[in-house]
């Protein structure tokens, strides 16, 4: 029965571990971020940084290995102005033409799939200049279709020497003054020959692009127009920023003469893009999230005719830490209209909704908003709850831990107290002496480590585990019978030898730093009688100590704090030797965390020594037959006046429940 049973148990232990890991990984929330990204896809299918990441696997499925391998590196540096610029370019220059681009891209893909034998291998990207200067740029589509046809036709002509082949352009994208095209390697060679050809009155410049389809939006490819536009928008933004109030006023955008004169609000589509562009520029202005958070705490979106926040969703993604938001004078008529902001603005404290239809259509909207925005305190200038109430509500959502009490130190003749006073000093300074004095050949020691314990995230990184890991007898991890046997140290010699190899420690002085320890102990029957006289066994003491020590690793010379728990079982010593011996010593180690202050929690009057109180509890319990719990309750009521406690006991004796009394042994 034995080996099989033990192994299956071990695997069960592993399973719980791996499930713990799983639950951790899901709580990281990486997946959520992705999802948020994909919802940002442009309505009209524009290619931009944000969306290209999600589109690429589909669009570039024809083995676009070059792109995918270079993309992540670009992604990392695209946070700043360049991203803003690129988004602006997309919104301002591409406009309605982008649909054509995606159509061409799409159809090219179908064609590419058909002619797969030729076109396997990564796409090569070329940059074409000259479209803007050509007469064709006056065409409704900016001349793209004509240019594509021109390039394919001319390039195909070069292949006539051999069997004539049709040159295919698989992807195309217009960025500023440049037209980027993607094609197979062979076709690219032909297309490069079209360099300097004149297209619609304008000489073409065709070179290899080191920037893919120009998504990177480097300033090199940004047209003058775009740069100017960006500068203009930036200046508009800076006029609308009130630094003293950390307020960005984006109200009444449609009546802003400058924006209108730029044609930014010609139609609904344009207006939406302008807004996104403005957000992108805002985002680009700050180097870090912290800068952004510090600079802008409030935003006004008042009087913008917004009927669904989908139109301005980017405010929430650009300013997730926003504190105050003015939405007054818009057209929000129900909670659905705010739906896209649900779960966002986790730190929003104030919102103005006055002048929205929702005020009359949904009488519960304020309650709903308090639910949606966890830190929201005030709506329309009326404070609906205080930060304290929010904290209370949050705490009420969680269970209340069992309260802490002072030490439960039910010592016998001071044995436990004297042992502990001696033990930690000796363990720090003379481990060998300690092992030979209080341990004998049947004493056992083992240590176990918990490397994944709860830790204060603000605390310094935990001390390394290397010095302990080889001897840790954490049975959730150590499964083999042999290892379990090897890591149990029995007898003075083995214990002393192991202790020699463990890092140096310095425990706080018990007398001076009582609050750095929690010590509980109580008598325990049925231990082996070392004299062999009692077959029923002898009484001993079980002592559980929790605390911290300073550790110094001999090998790395690193010092730092570590938290520990140590459980001892003490029994009488062999006749003629020391009075007590350590039967069992189990050391549990974890990353440092300060202990809860059980003395404060237990003791409304810090002047009283807990030991004295314990003594009073024990005495009252002895005299009255009440349990320790009831004795303590009684003493607390009378402010630890022993005589009063006795008096009150005699007075109320008859009203006490049976459970108040210690069950008499049969």
């Amino acid at each position: 029965m034995a080996p099989r049973g033990s192994r299956s148990q071990a695997s069960a232990g592993r399973e719980t571990r791996s499930s713990a890991l799983n639950s951790k990984s899901t709580s990281r929330g990486g997946i959520h971020k992705r999802r948020a990204g994909s919802t940002r896809i442009d309505t009209d299918g524009d290619l931009d940084m944000g969306t290209s990441a999600t589109r690429r696997p589909r669009a570039g499925a024809s083995a676009d290995s070059k792109m995918s391998s270079t993309r992540p590196a670009r992604g990392t540096n695209s946070r700043g102005v360049s991203r803003a610029a690129q988004t602006m370019i997309k919104h301002l220059n591409n406009g309605e033409n982008s649909q054509l681009a995606s159509r061409i891209t799409g159809s090219a893909n179908i064609r590419a799939a058909k002619s797969k034998p030729i076109s396997s291998g990564p796409l090569v990207y070329l940059r074409v200049h000259g479209l803007k200067e050509s007469k064709a740029s006056k065409n409704p589509d900016g001349g793209r279709a004509d240019l594509l046809a021109f390039l394919e036709r001319k390039a195909s002509a070069f292949t006539s020497g051999r069997q004539k082949r049709h040159v295919l352009i698989k992807k195309s994208h217009l960025v500023g003054d440049y037209f980027f095209i993607g094609t197979s390697k062979e076709d690219a060679e032909e297309l490069l020959k079209v360099n300097t050809f004149v297209f619609a009155g304008s000489p073409l410049e065709i070179i290899e692009s080191d920037d893919g389809l120009g998504h990177n939006g480097g300033k090199a490819t940004e047209s003058k127009d775009t740069q100017e536009l960006r500068a203009k928008l930036q200046s508009i933004l800076s006029q609308r920023y009130i630094g003293g109030n950390k307020l960005l006023k984006l109200d009444m955008l449609a009546t802003d003469t400058e924006l209108v004169s730029l044609g930014m609000f010609e139609n609904r589509d344009r207006a939406l893009k302008t807004f996104k562009g403005l957000m992108a520029i805002c985002d680009g202005l700050f180097k870090t999230t912290k800068d952004k958070q510090d600079a802008i705490e409030s935003i006004s979106l008042a009087n913008n005719n917004i009927d669904d926040v989908t139109q301005v969703e980017s405010v929430a993604t650009t300013f997730p830490q926003l504190k105050n938001l003015d939405m007054s004078g818009n057209q929000i008529s129900n909670m659905q209209g705010l739906g896209r902001w649900k779960g966002k603005f986790r730190e929003l404290e104030t919102i103005y909704m006055a002048g929205n239809p929702i005020e009359s259509t949904d009488p519960n909207y304020q309650a709903n908003m308090l639910e949606w925005f966890p830190q929201l305190q005030s709506i329309n200038g009326t404070q609906l709850r205080t930060p304290e109430q929010i904290a209370e509500q949050k705490a009420a959502m969680f269970p209340t831990p069992i309260r802490q009490n002072g030490p439960d130190f039910r010592d016998v003749n001071g044995i436990g107290e004297n042992f502990l006073l001696e033990f930690f000093a000796a363990y720090d300074n003379d481990r060998h002496g300690l092992a030979s004095r209080l341990y004998d050949e049947s004493s056992q020691f083992s240590l176990s480590i918990d490397t994944t314990g709860v830790r204060d995230s603000k605390a310094p990184p935990p001390m390394p585990w290397a010095s302990y890991i080889k001897t840790s007898r954490n049975l959730t991890k150590v499964g083999s019978p042999n290892a379990r046997f090897q890591r149990l140290f029995k007898g003075t010699n083995l214990i002393s030898e192991l202790w020699k190899s463990l890092p140096f420690t310095k425990h706080p002085s018990i007398k001076e730093n009582m609050s750095k320890y929690i010590m509980d102990c109580h008598p325990l029957p049925g231990l082996v009688d070392p004299s062999g006289q009692s077959s029923v066994g002898v009484d001993g003491l079980i002592v559980c100590v929790h605390g911290e020590f300073e550790e110094c690793d001999q090998q790395t010379q690193r010092t730092g704090l570590r938290s520990f728990s140590r459980s001892f079982v003490l029994g009488p010593g062999r006749p003629g030797t020391v009075p007590i011996r350590v039967v069992s010593d189990m050391l549990s180690l974890r990353a440092y965390n300060p202990l809860p202050n059980v003395f404060a929690a237990a003791n409304p009057q810090p002047t009283e020594q807990p030991n004295q109180q314990q003594a009073m509890v024990a005495e009252l319990s002895k005299r009255t037959g009440m349990t320790a719990q009831y004795s303590e309750m009684c003493l607390t009521q009378v402010n630890w006046d022993f005589e009063k406690a006795l008096a009150i006991f005699n007075e109320k004796k008859s009203q006490l429940p049976a459970e108040a009394f210690i069950a008499m042994p049969q």
Binding site: G453, L475, T476, L488, L524, P525, M586
Partner: protein, 169 residues
Amino acid sequence: MPLPDTEKEVQASSEAAEIFVSHFYDALNRHHALLPYYVNSTTRYTIPADISINGAQVATPADYYNLLEAQGAGVHYEVESFDTHVLNPSFQYNAPENIYDANKAEKSGARMSIVVTVMGRVQYGKGKEAPQKMFNETFVLVPNWESLQRNPPRGAKRWLIMSQNFRAL
């Protein structure tokens, strides 16, 4: 009196501890009755278990259960480490005369008392924001004499809690 050898001790004690730890914390997390885990559940033992929770002595397993319930819903205990030592390889306290095949039981380690120390985390509530604390708990487990009789009751636990020392840290 054939005592178990050291290898047998290690194997039997780890096995006992493993079974106990997985079942006991499962019972806590599922709000199952706790009495069956304690010596209080059998008349064979004349003393109740010594239960010390966060420094307060708790009279009965039912009281401990009430304390746990009073915390509110969603408290979850997760064991991250445990270890065990044999205290007495031939525990005799309150032992009955009629242990079935006593020699074999003793040799296989069935009548040992063991000490089990557990380290883990308590999560107070569900979700990422729920507060978490470490806990350390040390038990002394003793044989359930009823399970060592000739026809043990169905589902009787092999080991019972005689001493429990819990601290949230």
